[in-house]
Symmetry: C2
Subunit: 318 residues, 2 copies
């Protein structure tokens, strides 16, 4: 982000018709957004939401409350406009697209093999990279993939330390026994790949999934294009953590949209040093929390760029 | 709210293409909204924001960081579209109007007289009552009035107990000495009117202001018309507390939009038994926190009423 633009945005903020700081976090958001967009008075015209969908070999271990065929069924629901994310995209003026990644070919079960080959993880990273629109001014990566909180938990543990019990949560609705089983599956994956997890991309290949890798690629592409990102929940943040581990500051262009009800999301956000904008008990995925947070970013930018200054409005500035 | 409609909305919620409860608080919000609107599949078409402006005799006591003429200047700014609330209303599709209440005639200084005569408080209540549009489907009352956090603090203390120190905060930007002075002004008002504060409307007349009374009237009118209300910050909640004290359940049609950075707002929300939707450090007033929360309510209703059911989408429901 450009220091000159940030200083200009801060100067504008100080002149707007409000007591200093009275818009709280909205002021910080607008200045951050201005810095990444390279203009002190930015607008949001083309927010983009892309849902990446993948299937997981590890789903065969019984780690989800839903059967694997739900992934392809939900892709059809996204395409037909019937999912939660479709309604949120429409409500807040974002484009929405779904990228289905080889759904007929699930990843390998990571408890006894790498989830993806090198060619597969590269293809998935590339699919994410290519999905970011040239003219996007905010990017949200969402996901769908039965079994993917298990994959995300294993990846988070590999990147950030801890065991299955630290990172496995209820996902779409596991009971306590289901969570314990899931934690055991994560631990089995961590044990199987123990000697190969130091490199973040290799951890992604071995424990992640195609939609996780695509999210990693998309968030990186957004960084290169200076497109601000709103991170969604546990799975999106696990994919983002790959970049954070690969290069310090790699997520400076990203904010945390919300705190998910998925148990370990708070721990993951703390590791990424991100404070979530919303805390509404969401645990749906699909980018739904980030899409709701898009409204908050829109509020921030609308105020920052649309308000009159004290001089323009003829208001005494205290 | 109708029990039959609520049950129908809950039944719809249970069939939507998401794991049960995965939209967290958005689900509760949509069901609450459906109940007040009297339909299991409601929409938000006509959200209404009205800013009530008043001037306060107590401002002469030096309780604000801004001079009293800012009230009328900001009314002009609202009318010209330059304030924060104008940008938020535009961003989220709400109508916005400002009602200036006898600005040239401030209320009396409540430290030595009732702030309003009986005729004045009735006129202000009536102005608020009349401001709620017949076709509004969400209502937000905002305010502007230099000195009005002092009035709101005194009113909150009268309604809910405690002293000036419990309820006085930084307002538009007082320093510690300023807050202490303000707390003393509140205590002086409480002492002067001590024998006349048991009736909530009488407390409003003696310690409130025209814009506070108008908010009270508007929130009551919305209740009668079954229009859901999003409460803004400290001042709006103090005005709403008059109704809560007058009749149990009088605020069942209202949700707390946000937790303000004004010190005593958390205490006030707790007394009203309301959990705020947002916590973004706002302390501007104008209805700005509630208007930002409108986006969250829109998200909730859009998902609830727009999503496909499992049967419609052909998705396995676990």
């Amino acid at each position: 982000a450009s220091a000159g633009v940030i200083a200009a945005a801060e100067a504008r903020d100080a002149q707007l018709t409000k007591p200093p700081g009275a818009l709280g976090r909205l002021e910080e958001l607008a200045i951050w957004y201005a810095g990444w967009r390279g203009t002190a008075r930015p607008t949001i015209e083309a927010p983009q939401i892309v849902i990446f969908a993948g299937n997981h070999g590890v789903a065969a271990r019984g780690v989800s409350a839903f059967p694997p065929e739900v992934t392809v069924q939900m892709v059809a629901n996204f395409e037909a406009g019937g999912a939660a994310i479709n309604q949120l995209a429409r409500a807040f003026g974002a484009s929405m697209a779904v990228v289905a990644l080889d759904l007929e070919r699930p990843t390998a079960d990571f408890t006894d093999a790498p989830a993806m080959t090198e060619a597969e993880v590269l293809a998935a990273l590339q699919a994410g990279w290519s999905a970011v629109a040239e003219d996007a001014d905010v990017f949200i990566a969402g996901e769908m993939g039965i079994g993917n909180t298990t994959s995300a938990a294993a990846l988070a543990a590999a990147l950030l330390g801890g065991t299955g019990a630290d990172w496995a949560g209820r996902g779409t609705g596991l009971d306590t026994a289901g969570v314990a089983l899931k934690a055991g599956v994560v631990d089995a994956g961590l044990a199987h790949h123990a000697d190969h997890l130091a490199d973040p991309i290799e951890a992604l290949r071995r424990l992640g999934g195609r939609e996780l890798a695509a999210m990693t690629g998309a968030i990186l592409a957004a960084r290169m294009a200076r497109v601000p990102v709103i991170l969604d929940g546990f799975i999106a943040c696990s994919a983002a953590a790959v970049l954070a581990r690969a290069a310090p500051g790699a997520l400076d262009h990203a904010i945390a949209g919300h705190l998910s009800a998925e148990g370990a999301h708070a721990r993951l956000l703390a590791a990424l040093d991100k404070v979530p904008l919303l805390d509404l008990g969401l645990r749906l995925g699909e980018g739904s929390g980030a899409a709701t947070a898009l409204a908050v970013l829109k509020a921030a930018v609308a105020c920052h760029s649309g308000m009159a200054t004290f001089a323009e409005a003829g208001v005494s500035d205290g």
